[in-house]
Each structure stands twice: as C-alpha cells, then as structure tokens.
C-alpha cells in the first residue's frame, strides 16, 4: 500500500503537444481513484508516467515518499493490471495464478501462501487444481486477476481494463474489481473514458480535459456539484440537459427565462447560489438532470411557476423509468466546453438541432403513459438547477 503523489506533473511531446499540464493529485493509501475524460485528455499518459512507461517532462511522481521519476518501471513496485492475460491450458488454476512468482524464484511455500490467499479472495479456492478449460468465463477472468493480486504491489494501475469485454461481463467485472480493491485496500489508479465506470467504481473521480485536471471529488459530489460545463456534461448518463437561459430579477424574485417559458427560483434556492442575482438580464447556461424533471400529471402539487411544457418525440420504457425525449424552443449551449463533452457525431447532431430546438430528456416514473407527439408538462426541481457562466464555463455559486 502506498500514497501516490503527482506534483506539477507535465508531459510535453517533441512536437510541442502538451498531453498533461501541471497535474497535481494525491491518491491516498488504499484509495481507488478513477481518472476519467474523453479520448486525448491525458489520462492514459498520466497513468503511464506513474507506471514509468512515459518520460516525464516536468514535475514529480512520488510513491510512498520516494521520487520515482528516474526509477525503472519494474522497480516501482506497481502492477499494470490486466494488460494482456492469457490462461495456460495445461497449468492448474493455482499454477496459472502463481507462475509469475515462480519465474521470479520466490520460495514455493510463499507462492502457495499467496496463491491460497488470493484464491480465497476471488472465490477460487475450490478450483485451484482445475484446468482453465473447466472454468466459466467469469472464473477465468478472476484467475487473471489473481495473477496480479499475488504480486502484492504497492499500487495497481489499470488502463481501460474492461474495454474489450462484452457488456454483461464488463458490468460483472466492474463490481468484482471494486469489491476486490476495497477488500485488499491497495492504492489503485484506474483510467477510463466511461463515466459510468468512473461513477460506480471510484472512491474519488478525477476529470481531465486537454491535459488539465478539472475536478476531483467523490462520484456523487461530482454529479451534484460540477465545477464547470464540461464536468456537468460529461458526468452522468444521460448527460445533464443544458440550454441557454436569461436570468431576470423581478421585484427581488429570481426567474429564469427559457425561450417563451419561465421558471421561478425561490429564495432558498437562490441563497445557495447568491451570485446568480448578479447575472440579472444576462444569458447563462442552465442545466438540469433528467431525474429532476418529473411528470406534472403525477406530481400535481408542484408549483405552477416551476413547470416546463414541451412535446414528447420519443419515449423509452426502461422498466424502472421512462425516458421522455423532447425539445425546448431555446438555444443550446454551444460553448466549446459543452461541445467537447460530446462525440463528433453527437456534436453535429447538437449543432443541427440547435436551429429547431434543444433536445432534452426527462426521467419519468415507470407508470408514465406518455406517447410520442403528446404534449407534456414537467415539474422542475429548481433546487437542483445548475447555472454556468457562458464565458468562463464555470458554475455560478457562492
């Protein structure tokens, strides 16, 4: 176990491209930290610098109090997990888990001890004498994990380890890795572009964009309190609904105008973000999560001044909820920060649709009877509205 500290970590390639820019991050002893961001954000480069695979242009990597900048990767006592594991058909499960230690000439007794311990943790203790052929897909994956566990490294480094698995196995392995990490309490840095993985696995999640660390926080905190448009749009599935809105302070009351519609933000909600008043008469980016829009025909007690009306164009019944897609007759947030969160295809779609309205989605209860083409009215939980400055992209708080 170890504390991993990244201090002013920077990577500049020969062509001048700054892949990682002054990254400061401390990963606590036994912590599971997820580095997340879109392709090219620098997350893998940062991890590879920790592993010793990339030369460091600036800053320091400190593991357990020792500066590792010039220490060869094999001497850093970190394990890059699940890079390319194959199981050997003629070796038993136990041999498959422990062969790396055998190659390192570790005494047999110690190998047996570690293999037995890892197998118990992985629920493979009854299968140690079997051949891989007799195992299920999930059990084979666990044997591969056992191989990393028996090394007992100071830290696990995982770079998109589940990207090649099918959806079902990916979900299963996600839980498995998170459980094991907590059981072993080994400091872990996990890189992914998948925000669902990030949200479900990490103790803390660090969001990166263009080489810069934007925010590091617990998953729920990140979801509830994104520091800027990028984090707001990137974290969460479906992404946060966004549109341009005009702040209006009328008789001391704060309203936001969304096209032809208005929402009242009551005094208590404004108190949580007093600077909003300073934006009187200005356009801001407003965000609201799908689950903060509910079916007003069910939530009949919701105040009338906190409702939005629209026409549903697609509904998706997912069992536990119904996703209702609609457009608002208002400009989409086309700032660079917001667009960066979407894939290229989605960006094109976003730009195209911004001419006719902004696509939003609401999460209704499972009994909702909304049909495509139907007019809908939604109650908005204004306590959970998010406001961002359009110029800086930063959240409006304080």
């Amino acid at each position: 176990m170890a504390i991993v500290e990244l201090e002013h970590l920077t990577k500049v390639y020969d062509n001048g491209f700054k892949a990682v820019n002054d990254l400061n991050l401390t990963i606590g002893d036994g912590e599971f930290l997820v580095l997340v961001g879109p392709s090219g954000c620098g997350k893998s480069t940062a991890l590879r610098m920790v592993a010793g695979l990339e030369d460091i242009s600036g800053g320091e990597i400190i593991i357990d109090g020792t500066v590792m900048n010039d220490v060869p990767s094999r001497d850093r006592d970190v394990a890059m997990v699940f890079q390319s594991y194959a199981l050997y058909p003629h070796m038993t499960v136990g041999e498959n888990i422990g062969f790396g230690l055998k190659l390192r000439k570790m005494p047999k007794l110690e190998i047996n001890r570690r293999v037995t311990e890892a197998a118990a943790m992985l629920g493979l203790d009854e299968l140690l004498d079997r051949r891989p052929k007799a195992l299920s897909g999930g059990q084979r994956q666990r044997v591969a994990m056992g191989r990393a566990i028996v090394r007992q490294p100071k830290a696990f480094l995982m770079d998109e380890p589940l990207s090649n698995l099918d959806a079902k196995l990916r979900v299963q392995m996600r839980g498995e890795i998170a459980r094991l990490q907590h059981e072993m309490n080994v400091t872990t840095i996990y890189v992914t572009h998948d925000q669902v993985e990030a949200m479900t696995m990490g103790d803390r999640v660090a969001v990166m964009r263009r080489g810069v660390l934007l925010q590091v926080a617990g998953p729920q905190d990140l979801y509830d309190n994104p520091v800027n448009l990028f984090v707001a749009g990137f974290m969460g599935s479906p992404p946060m609904n966004m549109c341009e809105a005009k702040v209006e302070v009328i008789g001391g009351e704060v309203w936001v105008r969304i096209g032809e519609q208005r929402l009242h933000v009551d005094a208590e909600d404004v108190a949580a973000r007093p600077r909003l008043r300073e934006y009187d008469g200005r356009i801001v980016a407003m965000g609201v999560r799908a689950e903060d829009l509910s079916d007003a025909s069910v939530a009949t007690s919701a105040p009338m001044d906190r409702r939005l009306r629209a026409k549903a164009f697609i509904t998706e019944a997912l069992g536990s909820e119904v996703m209702v897609h609609f457009t608002l007759d208002v400009a989409a947030v086309n700032s660079e920060l917001a667009l960066d969160t979407a894939s290229l295809e989605a960006q094109k779609e976003l730009l195209a649709t911004s001419l006719t309205g902004t696509p939003w989605v609401a999460s209704f209860g499972p009994r909702a009877r909304v049909r495509p083409g139907q007019d809908i009215e939604m109650a908005v939980d204004t306590r959970n509205l998010h406001f961002f400055d359009l110029e800086t992209g930063l959240t409006i708080k304080g």
Binding site: A86, Y88, M91, E95, F99, G100, L103, L162, N164, M173
Partner: protein
C-alpha cells in the same frame, strides 16, 4: 443477417463463408486446423486452393484497429503476417450482434512454437526461438512499435538457415508511436518475459518440454539478449578521427546482424575523437534479404539470404578464376541462379517440395554437401549432395507449408488490451 466485408484484391472474396454464425459454430468443408498457440479469441482457419487464411473473432473496433496496425507494419517492411481484411457489423439470423472478424493470410512454411518443440529436442529449439523473438521485438521497437503482448503464441517461426526468424501474428494490444521511451521498451520486455516463461511452464506441464529447461532462466535470457542486441544497434561509438576502420567495422557488424544503416551522425567530441551516433530510426532490418531480392529476385529469410550471397561470392570467384575474366556481381548472381540454385531445387522431387521453403532446402543442401565432403575427404558435388539429402533427410521431414493438426488449446476470453 448482415455484415460488411473488406478485403485486399488478389484474395478470395470470402462471401461464401457463413458470417451470420459465430466462428465457433462453423462446420464447413473449408475449415482446416493447423497447429497453433494459445489464443484468447476464437480463431478458425479456412483454405482456398493452396492458400490458408486465419479468421479471428473480436469486437469490431479492435478488429479494425488491429487491421490498420498490421497493415502499417506490413507496409513498413516489418515481419508480420499479411492482413487481408475485416468483417464487421455482423448480425445473426435473429438480428443479434456478432463480433467482428480479422482476416490474415497464414504464413507459409511457418511453425508455431508448440510444433517446433514437438518436432525437435528442447535444447535445439529454445535458443534459436528466443533469438528470433528477441530480434523481432528489437525490430518492432526500432520502428516505434509497442507490442503489448509479445509471446511465443503471438509469433510464428520460419526456418532461416539454422536459425529461426519470428513473425508477428497478433497486434491486438499494440500501439504505434513515433518513438518508444525506455520505459515502454522495458515494459514490453517485462510482458514478453512473463509470457514466454508462462508458455514454457505450460509446455512443461503438458510434458512437451524437457524439465531440464528452467523457464525463469529463459525469461531472464530473453532480457539479456534483447539488451545486448539493442545496445549493439543503438549505442554510441567514440573513436579516433583518423580511424575510419572503426566506423566501417561498426556498420559491417550491423549488416551482419541483418540491419542497414540509413543515416549516421558523426560528432566531434574533442581530443581528435568522433562520436558515432545511430538513433533508433536509422537502422532497418533486411540487409541481405533485400540485397538478394534486388540481385536475383529470390525472397528468402535474412540468414538464408546471407548464406546464398556468400555462395554467390564463392561462385563468382570460382568463375573468375576459371574463365580468367572479371564478372559483375549481377552477372555472377544470375549465372549462380541458373547453374547452381535452380538445378538444386528442381532436383528435389515435386512430391517433396511442400516440406521446406526452397531457400531453406538450398541452405540445408549446402550444409549436407559440406558434411558429406568432410566424411569423404573430398568435394562430393552438388548432385550427389542433393540426392543424398533428399533420401536421408528431406523425405523424412513433415510438410511445413501448412502444419495441420488438432489445436491443443481452446480459446480463452481476454481480459483487456490497449485502447
């Protein structure tokens, strides 16, 4: 049912294959089962006429990525299997998604490591195999290629005048960079050591490799040999400015190792000394291979080519002495091909020509001729050497154009790769 198939011209269209079914459930006459290594994916082989193709099932994006990597490596002249195409967007009869397929051409006269160990004594195999793998890894690293899963299973071996040359067959975890850092090379080497050690332990568990072999020591040896070769190819040399010989010696040594120098940088370091610097991008493999190909169009492995070039040199000297005139290398090479190489190969009965590559047969005949001549105390001549070689050695060898057998391993799902 649907799919999207892209292939290279000059190969079958593959449209007759049942793409609407998972590869594992295929039961078609075109299927063949060559001996192969461990695979994390389902891999099937199909035959079209004399050509055999490997079909590997893996997710669409990974198949496309591996396709482009193999293609880039192939275009760069690296020893990799020829990539033919991909099949993506596959759906079965029930319209459920199926994984994509990568199509590569099976490398003729290549042998997987398991077949090599099954055919020869462990001590005869492991060193040439390790050298072949090390040379392949170094070549790839010089080109900025991070393999990510270097193993005996992910390579095929071709006989090469007493040595084994290795070919990359799996680039699923690979990355192509402008240049590799020392850390990336070290990590690739670390993976290779673990994989090779594991594969040898597995062969021991199967009783296919002698227990006298220590897989841990072989893995360590891999690192040592890699470091030696890397250093020989890339380390700087400081020598007196008047001593051109040192420079020529270094270049010659690189050529002997099968590499060319494309560019060298000389820097004055004072005291009348020069520093010769060869950066990782200035050397490339295949010096003898390309030289032979340019001279007479024979496509041989590096060591085979070196052996043949030596024989051409000997033949040229013989002609010049005999006829009392100077011959150009080109003319001598063409005369050698007509008078020496082709008669040797055509003397091998047609029925035995699938045993080994012609270039390997020629090399082995030369060896045999030397052996017989030593025994006889006089040169026995080519014809007698060929006839004896065919009868006593070649006839007893198994065919190596395509080594068929029941695959000893099933597919095991992989857990990850690089992005």
């Amino acid at each position: 049912m649907s799919f999207r198939l892209t292939t290279r011209p000059g190969h079958p269209t593959f449209v007759d294959l049942p793409w609407e079914m998972p590869l594992a459930s295929w039961d078609i006459p075109r299927l063949v089962a060559p001996v192969r290594g461990i695979s994390r994916h389902v891999v099937r082989f199909v035959a079209y006429g004399g050509a055999m193709y490997a079909l590997k099932e893996l997710p669409d994006p990974i198949a496309l990525r591996e396709h482009s990597l193999l293609r880039a490596l192939g275009d760069d002249g690296a020893p990799v299997v020829e990539v033919i195409g991909t099949v993506t967007g596959r759906r079965d009869e029930a319209d459920d998604e199926l994984e994509g397929v990568l199509i590569t051409r099976h490398l003729e006269f290549s042998l997987p490591y398991r077949a090599l160990f099954a055919r020869q004594a462990t001590e005869q195999v492991w060193e040439p195999m390790l050298d072949g793998l090390v040379e392949l890894l170094v070549r790839l690293h010089l080109g900025g290629f991070f393999w990510g899963d270097c193993s005996l299973s992910n390579a095929l071996f071709r006989r090469d005048a007493g040595e084994l040359s290795a070919w990359l067959v799996d680039a699923e975890t690979a990355e192509l960079h402008a240049q590799l850092s020392d850390g990336q090379r070290a990590w690739d080497l670390e993976i290779a050591m673990g994989n090779v050690g594991g594969e040898l332990l597995d062969l021991q568990a199967a009783g296919e490799v002698s227990d006298d072999l220590d897989p841990g020591e072989v893995a360590d040896e891999l690192m040592g040999r890699y470091q030696n070769l890397w250093s020989e190819l890339t380390s700087d040399l400081v020598f007196p400015s008047w001593d051109d010989h040192a420079l020529h010696q270094r270049v010659r040594r690189l050529n002997e190792l099968g590499f060319d120098v494309r560019e060298l940088e000389l820097e004055s370091v004072g005291h009348g000394e020069l520093r010769l610097h060869l950066t990782t991008r200035v050397v490339e493999p295949g010096h003898h291979h390309r030289r032979l190909l340019a001279l007479i169009g024979i496509d041989a492995q590096e060591n085979q080519a070196r052996r043949m070039l030596n024989d051409i040199r000997r033949f040229r000297a013989h002609l010049e002495r005999r006829d009392g005139m100077v011959l150009s290398e080109q003319v001598a090479a063409l005369r050698w091909m007509v008078d020496s190489f082709e008669p040797t190969i055509t003397r091998v009965p047609e029925s035995l020509r699938a045993k080994l590559q012609p270039a390997e047969v020629f090399h082995q005949v030369l060896e045999h001729r030397w052996f017989l001549s030593e025994q006889a105390g006089a040169d026995v001549g080519t014809e007698a050497a060929v006839d004896d070689y065919v009868a006593s050695i070649l006839a007893g060898l198994p065919d190596e154009r395509a080594v068929l057998g029941s695959p000893p391993t099933g597919s095991i799902p992989r857990i990850s790769s690089s992005r």
